[in-house]
Symmetry: C2
Subunit: 515 residues, 2 copies
């Protein structure tokens, strides 16, 4: 096991050749998800769902630690609820699944059809988001200032009818968490909005090893009905931006629509100020496009369904027994270690199959560490370790390292920590290297027109125009296939002119192509 084994390079598309095709191929080859046959909906397979379970567990811990309580609200929202908040319905009405009947009967051609006798008096909307139905509950639960803040969250599926879908990034049905909170005043609600944003930033960077900019979205990109929308924005390897989480300060608009009122300490009736914030299975798309390489996925250990896979090189002979016993001991010892505050997740993969094929399947799935164990390793008390982040590093491809078993046990947690930190550092270096300050419209046009596949993002100064002036900026950018991502919240002072309006600049914004 000391020579370097050959690893077959099985993805047929390289990132540099066709990023979109590469993305689909990673999802397929890593067995993360597939088209379901149901329009716009995917099947999430065990490796993809396992990553989602890890994300859920860690995000849920953070949500609970902030004092937010999980609830569950109805899938269906009566049309009348939805229509109460005018901006909200305007923003969503064009892309929702509408339930109109509650029974089927045999049709004229023998097939089944909706029963005209079972038509609903009021159509039900399959929730695209739950502000309205949760607002109705909050109106029941909030009476006095003592009931505030009210902090709720739900893990749920939501549906937004999408014309063009892409797995994990934009599907008609997706899985998410949606936090909904009610507060006595603007300050408290804004604090919660920014707390959730910071939770998302830290989660993206810590758990997903995905660097993000946390900032405020421009007026035109606000959630329908929101007073302010904040986002975390990650740079994918093709230079495009991915919005990976949002947090909204909703003012009193939803509270007025739903009647969320409380009696303040002076006995006066007040409307609550509400917030909502969400992250979804879209983060898995971000993870793929941040950490994948030309061999497939690389999963940050904190969210990897398995962090270490032990691969015994079985020969279907009597010598397998001692080899398996050795691997079982090793697996058990690794499972007793703790990394990132949880037991190490290790799988002994003793399924039949050629060792190289099994290895390649795990490479494509991106398991952080593979241990191949042959009879001689077992006899000599060794392991042969392949770190997924080192396959194509430097000159040596597939650099397996032979280690004494006890040495590996002593260093396994550090290896995982180093892997996690390494993915983040690599992504952050790439992101930072691809954000450029651009001084004027001409330079902006040139930047995104340059003969470079992945131009990255432009950081520009602007005067924060609103209304028609903003719309004019948005249209100019649209002509270049660009969008405003967000405004950093670091409070850094700026001096100079807005590249769009020429007026004195008040802040920086990131401009990019986006998903």
């Amino acid at each position: 096991m000391n020579q370097t084994p050959q690893i077959r390079h099985a993805l047929s598309t390289k990132r540099a050749d066709d990023f979109a095709q590469w993305y689909q191929e990673v999802i397929s080859e890593a067995e993360m998800a597939e088209e379901s046959g149901v329009r716009g909906c995917m099947v999430i397979k065990p490796w993809g769902y396992g990553i989602w379970e890890r994300i859920q567990r860690r995000m849920d811990d953070r949500i609970k630690a902030a004092g937010v309580q999980n609830c569950y609200f109805p899938l269906f929202i009566p049309l009348s609820y939805f229509a109460k908040e005018a901006d909200h319905v305007e923003g969503f009405a064009k892309e929702m699944a509408v339930v109109t009947h509650h029974r089927l009967i045999a049709g004229e051609n023998g097939g089944l059809v909706p029963d005209p006798e079972a038509k609903l008096e009021e159509p039900l909307i399959v929730r695209p988001t739950s502000e309205t139905v949760i607002g109705a509950a909050m109106a029941r639960w909030v009476q006095s200032w003592r009931d505030l803040p009210l902090l709720t969250n739900q893990w749920a599926n939501v549906v937004r009818w999408e014309m063009r879908t892409r797995m994990f990034l934009r599907t008609s049905e997706f899985l998410w968490q949606e936090g909904h909170t009610a507060h006595a005043d603007r300050d408290d609600a804004m604090e919660e909005t920014l707390r959730a944003l910071e939770m998302y930033r830290d989660f993206a960077e810590t758990e997903l090893a995905m660097p993000v900019f946390a900032g405020e979205k421009p007026e035109n990109e606000r959630f329908p009905g929101a007073v302010a929308t904040y986002s975390i924005e990650a740079m994918m390897q093709d230079g495009k931006a991915l919005q990976a989480g949002t947090s909204h300060y909703l003012g009193t608009g939803f509270a007025k629509a739903a009647g969320i009122q409380y009696q303040d300490k002076e006995g006066t009736q007040q409307y609550a100020h509400t917030t909502s914030w969400g992250t979804s299975t879209r983060m898995i798309g971000g993870l793929i496009m941040t950490h994948g390489d030309d061999d497939g996925l690389r999963v940050p250990p904190i969210v990897a369904p398995y962090q270490i896979v032990v691969l015994p090189m079985l020969r279907d002979g009597p010598e397998d027994e001692a080899l398996l016993a050795y691997c079982q001991d090793l697996t058990k010892a690794l499972g007793q270690l703790s990394a990132f505050g949880e037991p190490v997740r290790v799988l002994l993969d003793k399924r039949p199959g050629k060792a190289t094929q099994k290895r390649w399947a795990w490479v494509k799935k991106g398991v952080p560490i593979m241990l191949e164990i042959g009879g001689r390793d077992a006899a000599g008390g060794q392991v042969s370790m392949l770190r997924r982040d080192r396959i194509w590093n430097a000159a040596a491809k597939a650099n397996f390292v032979a280690l004494a078993k006890d040495d590996f046990l002593a260093s396994a947690v550090a290896e995982l920590e180093e892997f996690q930190a390494g993915l983040f550092a690599e992504a952050k270096d790439r992101r930072d290297a691809n954000v450029s300050t651009v001084e004027n419209m001409e330079a902006l046009t040139a930047f995104f027109a340059q003969d470079k596949r992945y131009p990255g993002w432009a950081e520009v100064l602007w005067s924060r125009p609103t209304g028609a002036a903003l719309e004019s900026v948005v249209q100019k950018l649209k002509a270049l296939k660009l969008t405003i991502r967000n405004t950093p919240l670091d409070g850094q002072a700026v001096s100079g002119s807005c590249i769009f309006t020429g007026e004195p600049a008040v802040e920086r914004i990131y401009v990019a192509r986006s998903y």
Copy 2:
């Protein structure tokens, strides 16, 4: 704190007076769930959802330990998928939510209406269960005998349009897990069907402290399309039966409808044999009706969101500081203990409010152990413990026990274990005392007609009639408002005659009123 404090007895309905009303009141007073305003759908509130999260976590551990992998499949099922399995569609077609449009537009009266231009070519069904859509995926995934068994599970919401709903027991939308597996032959599929059944039996009895009979349902109660259906049946305190989980052997019917075929070792194409099995939020209804008492809920510690609540008796004075410090230390020390294989879940409830009101709120929620801590307890290194299962025991109501803090820390885990075991023993004794052997139809009629509010279940011999003969039995029972629950799987030999047909009996069945 050595005198027995008065506990206000706040439920207005006793079980013996109106069990159905008592059930609704427990759900409301324990803040577990409430009507949502959306027809047939409930809002699950933090205490109810917290119990569900505990159930999910422990059930998921068991499912994963059996080698089953979690996936996620679409919410929507195209009508054509659903229509493939004739018995299946017949069983479900009458109670499904049908999506017919994907957009709304302004209607003539200014409101919103489904856009006639956005009518779906093929209606989509909101999944009532996922055999059909998972079968379509299995048909893609299964090619060879090497792909079998294929073991999948999903945690999801499902919708069955119900005319009469009752929270947790029967709601149009509910949360569940559904296991779906494919196997090479009948024996392997049947083994999986019975493995899942046994998992449910053990889960109900261990985690929920709810004794159940595991057995086979009669032909007329089979899942639509199944060859055999098994269930666990629990006895509620009103003597009615609750089906708390089911496991189905589906034969090759669904495999033929979906095209799940594999090449066997001899190279012949074969249809797979499939199974499905599920448990749902209905189990929470069972938990309430098994363990609730006239003071509200009593939650088995394994599934209690909090197992211990520490209640400092704050006086809004300077002495509160030392009291809170004492309580914080106590809470931390308890959180470092481990019970049932997990850290003890303990809450320090320092919200404002009168101590008796806070105590009563936790009594109604059924938290296993409450610790009230006053200034003198803190000064003396004591705790005053109330075990929720001992409030109305024997003569002493609300028997608080004063204990040295260190003694309580040393015995807390044992207290929780004893609580869990005690709830099970109490429920099992009651169940066993209320199952009666009944020898003939006359006695059966008399048994259920007796002037006793909760007659329990009858165990009778029968000849396992099928078809029209079974239908005649079913109708006879229906006239008495009775149903056949299941046939025990203990293989016990029987001798005697069927009480319905007079033919030689082949097995025992349980007959009961049911939810």
